[in-house]
Symmetry: C2
């Protein structure tokens, strides 16, 4: 017999992992630091916003000619067009051949949700997904919810302290017909023959690539360079999905500015896939939000504003590289054992410190510096105010745990 | 064996029904008219925007103190609080007893999507949903996608030309444990004993109510009056979901400004339900869009702006009532057979003309006036420029089809 109340038997949901932020927030220590924010931070410790965004937002709100009507389910057409050209390059073979399209989604979670719903219906054989570890927490659940078995992988070699092309080639030894979620692998120095092997394995194993490009331009500040991998897959005639988010590289975090990009082998197949996606998006949110997309479109379609945005990306990336240099230099000056060149060899806001789990644990528990277990931090969280405390902490962690098998005494959990 | 391409076997999706707008758009007739827009239109034929919204949008974009960071998954807290108080009244028993909450969603489709995903998981017995016919096209698919059997109902009596309380009482003769999607039934004049019977049947049959309040304030311009039914259900101790949309009553169409409202029997159950909804929303879009919610919160929390908004609602509703009066009067003056009092007896933007399917077909095919098969139109689409053509068309349709069983000759479809 069913109960009288639908709600009566509903338990409190388990919070997702990713409780690092939660533990940080509960910590009363005054000098605590969180180095795992998802977004690029300013020197003042705020999420970065490109100045041209604020200017454009104001211009838009003063324009009486604009309407605020529902967007079509597929989204703002000019936003999609401009974003696809940004992602793949205006002269991309796929764009010229009219076999690339996109659906404007509510952020990158929306893009993954939409893509996964499509795969559930139209790629029924695929029930396993491999997700790059940094994105597993964010997107793994979406696959899991529709019945996928989710495995994570990492191409970071903690011994060699680099992104190892051999690990990547091992990753694609996954079972036939899987979905492979790939991030940017710009720091993974594949040789031409490595590339050829990668492509041929993905093709022969019928692996479906689902790219995740969360912040084009924030790796190297060279927009083309940052999506080189996509251009390579396009040139090899692959079909794939790509989640393109424009939140982090413009600094519009509170609006869903994502696109599920579809690259097909021809226009006919593209139209079929897009038509199915439209039906799915209709049920999910019917109309995507406009504000963020409108701002971004205004910038991408205006050469002067576009120039300002590119310049702002350049400044951000230079600033991050400078921070990395300083961290490396300070660690050397502190006589920290080990080589720290890997810090500056990695692109983008996030990078591996190259610490082991003991050292990470030491930093979190003794120094109140919150970093994920794998030691991958957001370097833009480091600034003039905290760099000394952080580098001294790292140095201490390395010195105290070096060569020892000793475990830190476990503190009682509150 | 699986195919080499995931996309290869994907067919073109069938377009949803609701192709009235599509047919209208394809019609080359210069004086064609579409009377079924979802939103309130101005006399100039544009979607209505409350003036105070434009003012507030500009103020917000000029405020340097605001940040544009990700909203929490549950959304903008102040927006939810202000909207719940608007929906149920500040002194609502449920608010005082801390047993009402909400999740900020991407519009009302997002609210239904979230609610339906919850019901799929936690109300497994329910596999049938009854949806009021005007909302079936929009929300029925969402239920259908997760395996519900969808039935539609209408409480409009085309013979008596009114919302019939007896039909409503028959509707709740649905099977035990169903979900019942109810719109505003303000025009359905239930007697006190009718209300008592309705409540008792919903209770004894363990029907789960899912309300849809798409435009509070646009029925009678009295915000409290417009949600009287919710207050009644709250007072009777029901648990329910309600999709609250704030797009149409503010005129912010291009931002997802919806809330899935949860009313539980106590705070403990509420927290459990909200925690489960948070997990679902995380997978759907992770962070809802902010702009629309921010504008609405600014208005609802500022007495002067709130006053301006209420005044704007009043003007809109008065204008619609005036239009209805004019339509009725013109139909009388044209000597149109029949009584047209039902036009002004209905509240809100949308109302039944009281035409049969022959008459509707005549209007669409001969006069290029596009109205849905059930004859329910959006009266705000009628203005000084088109009222004569429309009323003359209606009159002609009624005169030509009156008393006859004759079918209009079918035109060949292109």
């Amino acid at each position: 017999m069913s109960t009288l109340s639908v709600f009566m038997d509903v338990p409190l949901a388990h919070k997702l992992e990713g409780s690092l932020l939660k533990t940080y927030k509960q910590d009363d220590y005054p000098n605590k630091m969180f180095l795992a924010y998802r977004v690029c931070m300013t020197n003042e410790g705020h999420p970065w916003v490109s100045l041209v965004v604020q200017k454009t937002r104001l211009q838009i709100s003063q324009d009486p000619s604009l309407n605020y009507e529902y967007l079509p389910t597929m989204g703002l057409k000019s936003f999609i067009q401009a974003s696809l050209a940004l992602l793949l390059g205006k002269n991309s073979q796929a764009i010229v051949e009219n076999r690339v399209g996109g659906v404007h989604t509510v952020g990158d979670s929306g893009a993954f949700q939409l893509g996964v719903q499509f795969l559930r219906t139209w790629h029924k054989d695929a029930r396993i997904v491999y997700i790059i570890s940094s994105q597993k927490e964010l997107h793994g659940l979406i696959f899991q919810d529709v019945g996928f078995t989710v495995y994570e992988y990492s191409i970071w070699d903690p011994k060699k302290l680099c992104m190892d092309p051999d690990i990547l080639l091992n990753v694609v030894e996954i079972p036939h017909g899987c979905v492979l979620v790939m991030g940017n692998i710009i720091d993974c120095k594949l040789t031409p023959s490595g590339w050829a092997k990668l492509m041929s394995m993905i093709k022969s194993k019928q692996i479906f690539p689902f790219f995740d490009i969360p912040c084009q331009g924030l790796y190297t500040s060279d927009l083309e360079e940052d999506t080189r991998i996509l251009q390579y897959f396009v040139s090899q005639g692959f079909e794939f999905f790509c989640s393109q988010s424009l939140s982090k590289n413009f600094g519009i975090y509170d609006e869903g500015v994502g696109i599920l990009v579809v690259v097909a082998v021809n226009n006919q197949q593209l139209l079929c896939v897009l038509s199915q996606l439209e039906g799915l998006a209709q049920a999910l949110w019917l109309n995507p939000p406009n504000t963020g997309a409108r701002i971004i479109t205004s910038i991408l379609c205006n050469p002067a504003l576009l120039g300002e945005w590119k310049q702002s990306l350049k400044e951000v990336v230079e600033n991050i590289m400078l921070t990395k240099e300083k961290v490396k230099e300070k660690l050397r000056l502190l006589g920290t054992p080990g080589s720290w060149g890997h810090i500056t060899e990695q692109s983008g806001t996030h990078g591996y410190l190259g610490l082991n789990s003991q050292q990470v644990e030491y930093l979190v528990r003794k120094k109140h510096i919150y970093i994920p277990k794998n030691g991958q931090i957001n370097f833009s969280c480091i600034n003039a105010n905290n760099i000394n405390y952080i580098t001294e902490g790292i140095s201490e962690a390395v010195l105290l745990t070096e060569g020892s098998e000793m475990c830190l005494p476990k503190e009682k959990k509150p």
